[in-house]
Amino acid sequence: MRYIPVTCEQREAMLRAVGVSTIDELFSMIPESVRFDSALDLPDGLSEIELDALLRSLAGENEGAADLVSFLGAGCYDHYIPSVVDSVVSKPEFFTAYTPYQPEVSQGTLQAIYEYQSMICQLTGMDVSNASMYDGATAFVEAALMAARITKRHTMLCASTVHPEWQNTLATYADAGTLEIAEFPQVTGGVVNLADVEARLSAGDIGALLVQSPNFFGNFEDLAALGKLAHDAGALFVVAVNPILLGIVEPPSAYGADIVVGEGQPLGNAASYGGPGLGFFACAEKFVRQMPGRVVGRTTDVDGAMAFVLTLSTREQHIRREKATSNICSNHALNALTACVYMAAVGPHGLEGIARAALAKAHYLRDALLATGKFVAPWDAHFGYEFTLAYNGDVAEMHDAMLARGFLAGVSVADVEAEWPTGVADAENLVVFAVTEKRTKEEMDAFVEEVASL
């Protein structure tokens, strides 16, 4: 297989057409002093056989979650992906299609998005879902922007227990745009401090209270109390959730959430190198005209047959320019489809089973790690399938030693704090562990034994 962009003959013809005889002559107006004057130091081209061997040897240097025992989470999880997911998603009709610029001729794509939206609504308990956003972080920030449009208040109160990278994304948008971020409320016992939240809401200038539950440390926030505080202060309540746990916990709608967002990677999407992600975004119907992104609707065509259309695209960038509700006017269609197929494959009972298994295993591992005496619990909060412990030693050394033994030993809070401070005291020894339904008792017991022996 050769890739030759231009033949010598074509190059000669182009040079003749513009009236120069050599490529060098084309660049002659660039001063000698700033030109690179030696040959590029590149190896010779490879044959296909050589190239195949080289790429295989490079790929062989990867150590993936398939070969290691992974306790990594913090937004990107090692859940099992049923083989039917890849099989459906890999159909060329889905796999090669780009975002539908002539949407109504892409009925299959639209229907898949419509099914995805319907499932997200069922999962979150909200009225309307959009066709998806880029990832959890962008969905989170878009929720803040939407809340500002609705309340006409541009100051956001964000829990500092939200994923630090999401907070960083919020700060980036705020820095370049119209949002302000209020001083972060304190963290007590691994969750946001309710009294401090109430105090910061009391001025009545907050557009939205933004929380994540379970939060970055794995702990459940008191959504019922937080939702009431937000609404009493005239603010919207924006809740970020883990979609797998919605298989067993009350949907955020039960706590009065106005906008629900989250990272959809756990729903059948590969962890890859931490992406691409899938931002899901759902809200109450009364806010739909301020919702970012696109929405697929179901209708009937002129013959009365079921048909799918892009609804509310009058608010998208190609029509509304700078007045658009968002500058994300595409979506992660293939990732949304993947989530859709995953949810259809596992079903509500399957999702419940996955969540229950992960939760039970996480609680087992936490108890076992504490029993080694190598770890200390920084708080006693309710958690899902992810929890945080303080390590009695150097976290980086522990990570290296466990990697050599075939384990990915959780996410170092200090590493993530390089992006954004969490506001939690003594964070440098904290490690966030995630335990999905894939982990076996044998793997966990082996991990505990090895880490205790360090």
Binding site: R289, T314, R315, I319, K323
Partner: protein, 127 residues
């Protein structure tokens, strides 16, 4: 299509009926016809203060979303909340029940800068 001559018009296709210092504002029959079926009207809050030329809301039809511009300056004293449930009134009765906001005008002299029905009809015919 002659527009009623009991009011004045802006080149942005809003009409104004003045009663003392209260100005009632809507969009012209021509404008609603150009927009097509209106599905949503976003209006300001009572108490908002507007200057002539400010955007005071937006109107969405099945075809597009357009800004609404205040033809005169003043404070919003009333909004037509019935339009949130029945925005199609803007199509069926643009010069009557389809009104949008009432302003307490700061300067009734601004009205003289607006077009008479005759001039507005001529303006849209030039198009």
């Amino acid at each position: 299509m002659a527009h009623p001559n009991d009011r004045v018009y802006s080149k942005e296709h809003e009409w104004v009926v003045a009663d003392g210092d209260i100005a009632t504002i809507g969009i012209s029959s021509f404008a609603q016809d150009q927009l097509g079926e209106v599905v949503y009207v976003d209006l300001p809050s009572e108490g908002d203060s507007l200057s002539a030329g400010d955007s005071f809301g937006e109107i969405e039809s099945v075809k597009s979303v357009s800004e609404l511009f205040a033809p005169v300056s003043g404070e919003v004293v009333e909004v037509n909340s019935a339009l949130s449930d029945s925005p199609e009134t803007v199509n069926s009765d643009p010069h009557g029940d389809g009104w949008m906001i009432k302003l307490r005008m700061e300067d009734a002299g601004e009205l003289s800068a607006l077009l008479s029905a005759e001039d507005y009809d001529a303006f849209i015919t030039e198009g």
